[in-house]
Subunit: 262 residues, 2 copies
Amino acid sequence: MHKQNKLMVLTNPKLAEAAAIIEKAIAERRTLIIAGKCQVRYTGRAKSTLEPGERILIIKEDGSLLVHRPFGYEPVNWQPSGSIFHIQTKAEAIEVHAVRQKPRENVRVIFNEVLMVSAISLNDSGEFSLHASEKEMHRAILAKPSLLEDGFTPISYEKKVEPGFVDVYGVDKNGKLVVVEVKRKTAGKEAVLQLAKYIDAIKGKAERELRGVLVAPSLGNDVQRLLVTLGLEFKALDPKKCAKVLKEDRNAKLETFFKVDS
Amino acid sequence: MHKQNKLMVLTNPKLAEAAAIIEKAIAERRTLIIAGKCQVRYTGRAKSTLEPGERILIIKEDGSLLVHRPFGYEPVNWQPSGSIFHIQTKAEAIEVHAVRQKPRENVRVIFNEVLMVSAISLNDSGEFSLHASEKEMHRAILAKPSLLEDGFTPISYEKKVEPGFVDVYGVDKNGKLVVVEVKRKTAGKEAVLQLAKYIDAIKGKAERELRGVLVAPSLGNDVQRLLVTLGLEFKALDPKKCAKVLKEDRNAKLETFFKVDS
């Protein structure tokens, strides 16, 4: 047994030894990793059972729980943070019971054999930054059109319009057609002329009034006059904000599944 | 160092020792768990960086990768199965580089310190079964209305209609109003009479023609005549099929995020 303040690891422990580490780790809010033979039962919005096999159980310091099989990137069972744990040691098994109150959900992981148990105090305050590409910026505008302006309704994106592809186009609150060109860095002369070309190409065909909007984190000083002369508009949009919108959108989708019956 | 055929664990190893285990584990397709101080860089559809901190890296035998912080049930970075790994040992760091080909995505996890590394051969063929509740069955029909019948369009669900709540109601392809009563076990007399009551309650108010459909895995033999006499219909639907639809629907939502730019 390796025991330090930061790290405790037991390999092939007896069940009673493993249970002692598990209880201590949960009480001390350490990250717990258990590899062993277990079965899993879930009751809550639905019911699931996982027949015995060797898996990894992770319980984090915030009370979130993950059961991972040796394949696939998704956990087979999980609980979000805030779960409350009950450890029960029986003659031939350890039951780790995670209870979530709202909605009421129970995950029971029953180990018959523990290959490894480790309790680690992890110190992690590093910042996570997500930066969007131009395509991600298109998607963010589609997911949340108010990023462009209130009342904007996207119709299509990455649509072929000679001489290339229009990034996003749609209709504004007054019914005008809006052609959007997106850049992830400061927009220069080239971006302005590119948008102007699309507007020219569409003008002949469109029956509605047309607006061209250049979207970028900032606009080069030297092109503001050109933009105005060509009758185009500029909207400042930070790629980081787009990344955040997409991340929340993705979480929202996950949460749709998790919380719909709560 | 504990070394067995099934399990290798090193605590506080030197970087070169850790790198040797990591390479061996990936070559032998073992499940690899590393706890240590690392930073993470992702490039692909977007870009992300995770500043240094202590985390857990899991690489599974199928090449899927997860980076977990000590909080939250979601991984901060991940790659799906099929990733290819390159391990590079430098003077002060180990770089674990996971490459996915289509779409091209790179996750680089750079460890400056390894607290624990373990390589385990996990044997897991246990079956996972998911069973839906009646509420889950409602949701499955809403997610995939063709489970009821082609052309069915749900309008509402769990709607209050004295003497209780109608499970699902909608409109069929011919414009008739459809009232759906769902049971997760064999439907008996009580279920038939319950549906009949809802139909009676709605009949006076509805301006359209009405249909009542009882949905359950099976219909009791003794109630088929009653059903016909009351002018009601039966549709067989297995709760397990509903659970599967919901699971796929959830995966689809995840995949929407993951794959939209591929």
